[in-house]
């Protein structure tokens, strides 16, 4: 049962709205036509009954007027009697109080009412319309005894049209009498009703089709809008968005969803573009240094210097590997799964990790850690925080203090790492800042302070946050702020 329903549901769901509207219009028109046909048949039965009653009255009148002569025995009817009947029948017009129409009028208009007769006596020529006797007659027991319907083709009664006649066929004494009336083809009232019903059917059909065409066009336009926006987005242009208000209401939720998805994609693509610009720097710097060192290696004679250059070039390659790992971490599948992350836990773990290293240089790690929860990618946030603490420890002078702060703010959460190192200014002399991000110096001796910062910035932006770097003279405070 369920399967049947779902089968029907499935079939319906594969039809378009326009197809369904057309189907409904056609069904409505069919139902109306059906009712017209049924009404027509009822009207026809009524007309037949009227004709039958008139015919019966005619018969009664005829038998009455013929009087006793009709009741002569068959052997008593003479040739003269037969001639008399024939003459009489020609003179006899109709029953007493029946509206009557002339045959001429009936044949012209197709309306009923005209009478037809036939008498056959045992001798002599029969009188009246001979076809009444020969034509195939259909019994109509519902309308009375000996009542028949007879169809007379064109040319018999009316020269130009078929007529239906209801006749009474009876034997009156020796006489075979057939008296009938032409059946009204259709009642006037029925004609009007049929016309009105037909017109309304047409109206329904037309309005149904119009609605279908309109709905189809409106949906088509809305879909075209959405598709056009998606096509543009597929080519990297996110400026066009499908309308949300001026659109078919059925498609509004879709349009809203498409808008949201496009917003998200635009944000992600922007993030990806910016991040790769920044990360490219992380690749180029060690690449350039390694290239320069390998070139020098060819010229240098001293074995000691050659060993030093080879070692430094190895360091550059390791740095490249690290930049590559970070880039891969950004695009790794897990980098897209958000979960609840406790920044305070990340900070605690990072401090534990760096504690022994800081101790070796008498650097004090201070924690100002308050609960701060963020929806984010744990590994990326952990990497970012580790990078910042790593930098801070690396560049702080011995005996200095590095402070790690996490806290909830009015609008979200933030974490900061404050060091007492040389500060960004000291390390980035000579290179202009790119997009407000300190550019790593090209110094060959010290690992640059800015190294890894593009990665941190990309991670922070991935979480919709901002990274600010403030000179604390001495030292630097790097703060990542996230809104909730």
């Amino acid at each position: 049962m369920k399967r049947r329903l779902s089968g029907l549901g499935g079939w319906l769901s594969r039809r378009t709205t326009a197809q369904l509207s057309i189907a409904i219009a056609v069904l409505a028109a069919l139902a109306l036509s059906g009712s017209v046909i049924i009404t027509g048949q009822a009207v026809r039965a009524d007309q037949r009954q009227k004709a039958a009653l008139a015919a019966l009255a005619d018969y009664a009148a005829m038998v009455d007027k013929l009087g006793v002569q009709a009741w002569l025995g068959a052997d008593q009817v003479t040739e003269a009697d037969a001639a008399y009947f024939s003459a009489w029948l020609t003179a006899f017009q109709s029953g007493p109080d029946r509206e009557d129409r002339s045959l001429e009028e009936v044949c012209r208009t197709g309306r009923g009412g005209a009478g037809v007769r036939f008498i056959r006596a045992p001798t002599g020529k029969p009188a009246g319309l001979a076809e009444l006797e020969d034509a195939r007659a259909r019994r109509l027991p519902a309308l009375g005894e000996d009542v028949y319907a007879v169809r007379l083709p064109a040319g018999t009664l009316c020269p130009g049209r078929d007529v239906e006649v209801v006749v009474v066929k009876r034997q009156a004494g020796a006489l075979q009498i057939i008296v009938g009336r032409v059946v009204d083809r259709a009642g006037e009232a029925w004609g009007r009703a049929a016309l009105i019903v037909g017109l309304s059917g047409l109206l329904i059909l037309i309005s149904g089709l119009t609605a279908a065409v309109f709905a189809r066009r409106r949906l088509g336009q809305a879909l075209a809008e959405v598709s056009a926006s998606l096509d543009r987005a597929a080519m990297g242009d996110f400026s066009r968005r499908p309308p949300v208000d001026d659109i078919a209401p059925e498609l509004r939720p879709l349009s809203l969803r498409v808008n949201r998805t496009l917003d998200r994609l635009e944000e992600l693509l922007g993030w990806l573009r910016d991040s790769s610009d920044q990360l490219a720097h992380d690749f180029r710097t060690p690449l350039a240094r390694a290239t320069a060192r390998l070139e020098r290696l060819e010229e240098v004679e001293s074995a000691e210097e050659r060993a030093r250059l080879a070692r430094l070039a190895g360091d550059d390659l390791r740095q490249l590997t690290r930049a590559m790992n970070e880039t891969l971490a950004l695009r790794d599948g897990s980098a897209w799964v958000f979960e609840r992350v406790q920044l305070n836990d990340l900070a605690r773990a990072t401090l534990d990790l760096y504690e022994p290293l800081a101790e070796t240089r008498a650097i004090r790690l201070e924690a100002e850690i308050a609960p701060a929860t963020l929806l984010g990618v744990r590994t990326l946030l952990q990497r970012a925080m580790t990078n910042l603490v790593d930098n801070a420890v690396k560049f702080s002078p011995d005996g200095a203090t590095v402070r790690v702060i996490t806290r909830a703010t009015g609008t979200g959460v933030e974490f900061s790492i404050a060091d007492q190192g040389p500060g960004m200014q000291a390390t980035r002399q000579g290179s202009p800042p790119a997009n407000g991000i300190p550019v790593p110096p090209e110094s060959a001796t010290v690992d640059s302070h800015g190294m890894g910062l593009p990665f941190v910035r990309a991670v922070v932006r991935r979480h919709g946050g901002t990274l600010t770097i403030r000179d604390a003279g001495p030292g630097t405070i790097v703060t990542a702020r996230f809104s909730r």
Partner: protein
Amino acid sequence: MTDRTADETDAFLALRDLFSGMTALLLEDEPALSDHVASRLMRAGFERVDRVESGEQALAATADTPYDVLILDRLTAGLDGLETLKRIRTGKGPSADSPALMLTALGAERQKVEGLLGGADDYLAKPVGDEELLARIAAQLRRAGRRARANGGDVTNGPFTLSPGARTLQIRGADGARRAIDLSPLEFAIICELMTARGQPVTKTMLWDRCWVEWNFLPDNFVNIIDARISALRRRLKDQCPEVPEPMHPLIVSARSQSLVFRDLDGQG
């Protein structure tokens, strides 16, 4: 410093004994890398290194030859390394249970898990240094040896007894009584890795992988982080083990540039 240098050489020289007579199958389609790895293995003491360039050749080679270790590149023409390993593992060949190292450019966490689930015993992302490769192979051979001995019990080294199951390190005092050495869980994990290596070198990356398990990435500065941790651990051991003669300290010594060894106290009396 000169002492340490001597130790370094010894620790890696000790691997020669482990590697001698061993055979390896190397699946690597990059000739330069293949040459390099094979020559390093031979120099480290391997008796034979069979080199193949495709998974199909590797299957053919393992069909009738037993290898002590399989080193497979993951991305190779035709049948890839991972699929090859799966087939070797499910096959009935003499190398079906040999330890396997996946050596590959695909180093993401997910790929690592795929590799380990595919039957690899260790999964290394290129580039891999010689030291790392040899120490990792040694670790796999040790593990295979342990499996063969089926002795999951304690490890002793001089006065020390390590019970991995009970998670304790004990020292036999001058009076013969044993007493436990106080270690943090991380410190115990480090000692455990180093002592079960029985005098063979353990690289810092290996230590990071096994002991800092909740960190699923290598921080830039992990070498310094480990060095600082090891320095603290050396001090801790020295403070708690006065019965170990002064020249034996530090108990944990460096080997080459990236590795550490727990000194073999039995061999030195």
